[in-house]
């Protein structure tokens, strides 16, 4: 028997179009139809890609209860999410990223949400992120845990189920909490932090919350990585100039040792920079390799990796505010 008394909205925001996307939506539509009487799939196209519009028209013909929202031009993710959240009509909204969240995981999170009013956050395997990124993330998680007493889910995706009341409060509230919710969803941290905000309305709490969010967003949005890259780029450029000078000097002062010509400290600095170049090079090599080999595919939850769904069984919460 199909479930009738619970209305589900599945929100998908796509920023980049993948071929597999159509099959995913069709699969999701079929699965929802077989289990639920009242549901909708709302997908927000934030790609600026005419192809998506074409594909969407075809999907709309084929898939029941599909809604297509298109931004007039590519916008920030928050705007796209907001558009989606403002338009969904379900008892709960399940935010899904097709490239990460398998249809079975989506169904599971819905089923869990119906059982109890908990909010659930999904997980994704960590392998698609670079070493430096993971290091920064680990560092930030450690920092949040140690000093802010917040456990950050290292591998959370945007897959989550949020109750309508919570969503409405957030969307109606002042800009602070609205931005907060959107940022939280975007970063896969929706519920507990949000609840925290609701329960502790004091300004200081909000500030603390913002502190936490800042930390999380800062790391999540590659900020340290960007800074690291910029620094290494400047250093590489400086190093290159120095190397040229060094080669030129070596050529004109043949017969003398390098430390004789430039002095030991200079040589050591130069070597350090050289290593840095190699390090950053390796980092880039890994990223390039990853880009070449990475193909978005649904994350299938099977017996081996079913532990990632621990939170669904109530064993493990992803974020704990103490």
């Amino acid at each position: 028997m199909k479930i009738e008394n619970y209305f589900i909205s599945v929100l998908i925001v796509i920023n980049k179009y993948h071929k597999e996307f159509d099959c995913y939506i069709a699969d999701l539509g079929d699965s929802l139809m077989s289990e639920y009487e009242n549901y909708e799939i709302v997908f927000v196209d934030n790609t600026d890609d005419i192809l998506v519009q074409k594909e969407a028209q075809e999907l709309l013909q084929k898939i029941l209860n599909l809604r297509f929202l298109r931004l007039s031009k590519k916008q920030g993710q928050n705007r796209a999410f907001r558009l989606g959240l403002e338009n969904v009509i379900g008892d709960c909204v399940v935010v899904v990223a097709p490239e990460n969240d398998s249809v079975s995981a989506v169904l599971e999170i819905i089923a869990e949400r119906i059982k109890g009013d908990r909010l659930l956050v999904g997980v994704t395997p960590p392998t698609d992120k670079s070493v430096l990124y993971r290091a920064c993330l680990a560092l930030s998680s450690w920092y949040c845990k140690k000093f802010l007493h917040v456990k950050i889910p290292v591998h959370a995706t945007t897959l989550c189920a949020i109750g309508r009341p919570e969503m409405l409060v957030a969307l109606k509230d002042d800009d602070v909490s609205r931005e907060f919710l959107l940022t939280a969803i975007r970063n896969g941290l929706p519920y507990e932090l949000f609840q925290y905000h609701k329960q502790n309305n004091a300004e200081s709490d909000l500030k603390k919350l913002f502190g936490i969010m800042y930390e999380v967003v800062f790391v999540r949005s590659f900020q340290p990585l960007r800074i690291a890259r910029s620094i290494s780029f400047i250093m590489s450029a400086a190093n290159f100039i120095l190397l040229c000078v060094w080669v030129l000097a070596a050529a004109t002062h043949s017969g003398q040792s390098l430390s004789d010509v430039f002095g030991v400290p200079f040589f050591l600095i130069n070597m350090t920079v050289l290593f840095l170049i190699l390090g950053v090079g390796a980092e880039y090599a890994e990223r390039i390799l990853y880009r070449l080999t990475y193909k978005p595919k649904p994350y299938i939850i099977n017996e081996e990796n079913s532990h990632v769904l621990g939170f669904i069984n109530g064993v493990q919460r992803n974020v704990v505010i103490e």
Binding site: F7, N38, E40, E86, N87, I89, G90
Partner: protein, 377 residues
């Protein structure tokens, strides 16, 4: 037994909806023998019954000045001519959404001024029905509703007075031109018995059935778009009993009283059309099914979306029944939401005309055109 008492008429009108009946009444001023052929067992029982019962005064069409202005002009005439069917103790509120709306409150106000449609500020207590975070403004519109049953009575009384022959439960299955310039119409009753009658002129006023009759007669089709529409019949909480709410202008909802059944109708631009499709003149096959199909109600969807704008909509209760119809529109009007009447003269046969009705109160526009057509001969 013969379906009708005569074999030849001056005018045959096929389709006993509001348009067909009123065209027959109008023509009876100039012609003596007129017949109306209706396939259902009562007049005005299809689109002329299954609609929102709104007497348009222009407010509903802020993106099309022509439709809005025509409605504003026709409105007082309709109110006067069909007074008995018009319900006046009713307030119609138009709310402008902040989200996804194709117009804003300022534009709506200005447009209504231009179209001559009257609006006023609602009482403060009414504003509380709306969620002000997503509703920009609310206007009280001078608009009325009609009772479709009383409208049918008025139309029927006129037809009897005008001595118009009416054949109910009779389907026109084919129309063909005769050598002497007359037009023959092949009729079939509910038992399958057929009969041919003739006329000097024939009007095809069958709304969603227009192309079926043309196709069955081997005549070129018109370019028409169809939607299988649902108006959910609901019971409302006391505060909504004598009011109508329409959120503009885009994928929003309307809650309107439906006096003929003592209920309200809930409709939604996104959910009322269940499926849509099109006939084209190139294709000789019309795609409108003969009978209205059963479909699962979208009431829950309409209600849920509506609750975002008017939270008290959660107390609206579905009666378990809906009004279903094949809404028929011209594909060209989709982008600007215009609702012109289509008057297609000589559809493959001289003096065989098709009329695709639009708003009920726009009947005067087509009567004017028909008059011009007759006098031009």
């Amino acid at each position: 037994m013969a379906i009708l008492h005569r074999k030849h008429f001056d005018v045959i009108v096929i389709g006993g909806g509001f348009y067909g009946c009123e065209i027959a009444n109008f023509l009876s001023l100039q012609f003596s023998h007129i017949a109306v052929i209706e396939q259902k067992d009562a007049l005005l029982s299809r689109a002329s019954f299954s609609n929102q019962a709104r007497i348009h005064a222009g407010h509903h069409y802020p993106r099309n000045l022509r439709t809005a202005t025509r409605s504003a002009i026709n409105y007082p005439h309709f109110i006067a001519d069909y007074q008995r069917a018009v319900i006046t103790n009713f307030d119609s509120y138009y709310a402008i959404s902040r989200l996804n709306s194709k117009i804003n409150a300022g534009q709506f106000r200005l447009f209504m001024q231009r179209a001559g449609a009257r609006i006023a500020q609602p009482q403060p207590k009414v504003l509380n029905y709306f969620d002000s975070s997503i509703i920009e403004d609310v206007f009280l519109a001078e608009e009325s509703i009609f009772d479709a049953t009383v409208l049918k009575e008025i139309v029927l009384e006129k037809m009897i007075q005008n001595k118009i022959a009416i054949a109910l439960q009779t389907t026109a299955i084919q129309v063909s031109g005769l050598a002497d310039g007359k037009i023959s119409v092949l009729l079939q009753d509910v038992h399958g018995a057929t009969e041919t009658i003739t006329a000097d002129r024939v009007y095809n006023c069958t709304y969603s059935g227009i192309n079926r009759l043309l196709a069955d007669s081997g005549l070129p089709l018109l370019s028409l778009k169809y939607e299988l529409t649902e108006l959910a019949l609901v019971d409302v909480p006391p505060q909504f009993e004598n009011i109508g709410i329409t959120v503009m202008c885009g994928p929003f909802f309307s809650l309107m009283p439906f006096p003929a059944l003592q209920k309200h109708t809930l409709s939604h631009v996104r959910y009322t059309p269940h499926v849509e499709w099109q006939d084209s003149p190139q294709d000789m096959h019309t795609h409108v099914p003969l009978a209205l199909p059963e479909a699962r109600s979208k009431f829950v969807y309409m209600q849920r979306d509506g609750m975002r704008y008017v939270p008290a909509l959660k107390d609206v209760v579905y009666s378990g029944e809906s009004l279903w119809e094949f809404k028929t529109i011209l594909p060209v009007t989709e982008s600007d939401d215009a609702r012109p009447i289509l008057f297609k003269k000589n559809c493959g046969i001289k003096n065989f005309h098709a009329v695709l009705g639009s708003k009920i109160d726009n009947i005067y526009d087509i009567l004017q055109e028909i008059q011009l057509d007759i006098t031009s001969l």
